[in-house]
Subunit: 160 residues, 2 copies
């Protein structure tokens, strides 16, 4: 564990694990398996396609859902029901909508009023994504028939 | 104008223009000049360093503050009072804090309750950032003694 200004507890991460499972089952119609979450200690983007959603309210933070190019392409095909080019706005919209559904499902179980922003979708390679160093960030490594992906949750509770 | 599901009005953009001016004046101690805003019609990141903040509440959306490598380095030096390496967490924190101050200052004048997320900072080159195609996105081109930068505002009002 690194020393951080805020603490993160399992009840802040479990809603995201459940949300990933549910969204993949219902919307993508494949099973997502979850590996052991760990604390992120340095900036970086594991994969090439990231959907980023902001959280605010009694809980403030962000969720980054990150896929390899190959996984993102297969996922979008299954989710949208058609093959989409990575440069198409519909491709980014599909990734953004997936991140939106995961964050939207999780926020209801965060134990406080939280609302979510619209998604931003970053596509490229060799870039890094950093959340504030004073807010703990937990990486949830996931797997699916389309390939591995990761959900990064950086959140803190605000004083009531 | 392209056809979008939501509309964006000048009173939703002016708070961001004023916020950029104020934050640069007070916190970076340089003048930022604002060029004519325009509607963004395709995904893309103009510059290499982006601070991304989510907005939610009666107004939902996101703000992307985007700098060239060179401008970001000079800006962080002036803002933090010391030279910071681009790979340092403090560098990303400084860019994130700047985006946070711009979004935080603007949200008070958006004519509705809005709250902001923590920032994510993307650093790299050749990546694109896309906001949802159903939400209009306005690019505010800016200039400063450190170089050009841009503030991209993608927002919609929610039904009361």
């Amino acid at each position: 564990m690194t020393t951080t200004a805020a603490t993160i507890t399992p009840d802040m991460i479990t809603p995201f694990i459940n949300a990933v499972r549910q969204v993949f089952q219902k919307m993508v119609r494949v099973e997502a398996t979850i590996q052991t979450p760990y604390l992120k200690t340095h900036a970086g983007s594991t994969y090439e396609v990231c959907g980023i959603i902001g959280l605010s309210g009694q809980v403030t933070g962000s969720v980054v859902v990150s896929f390899s190019d190959a996984a993102a392409e297969k996922l979008v095909e299954s989710f949208a029901g058609t093959t989409l080019d990575k440069t198409s706005p519909d491709f980014a919209d599909a990734i953004g909508e997936l991140a939106n559904m995961i964050a939207g499902s999780a926020k209801q179980h965060l134990g406080g009023r939280a609302s979510i922003s619209t998604p931003n979708v970053v596509i490229g390679s060799g870039y890094t994504v950093a959340s504030p160093s004073g807010v703990p960030c937990v990486v949830i490594p996931c797997n699916s028939p389309f390939g591995k992906f990761a959900v990064e949750v950086s959140i803190k509770r605000n004083a009531a």
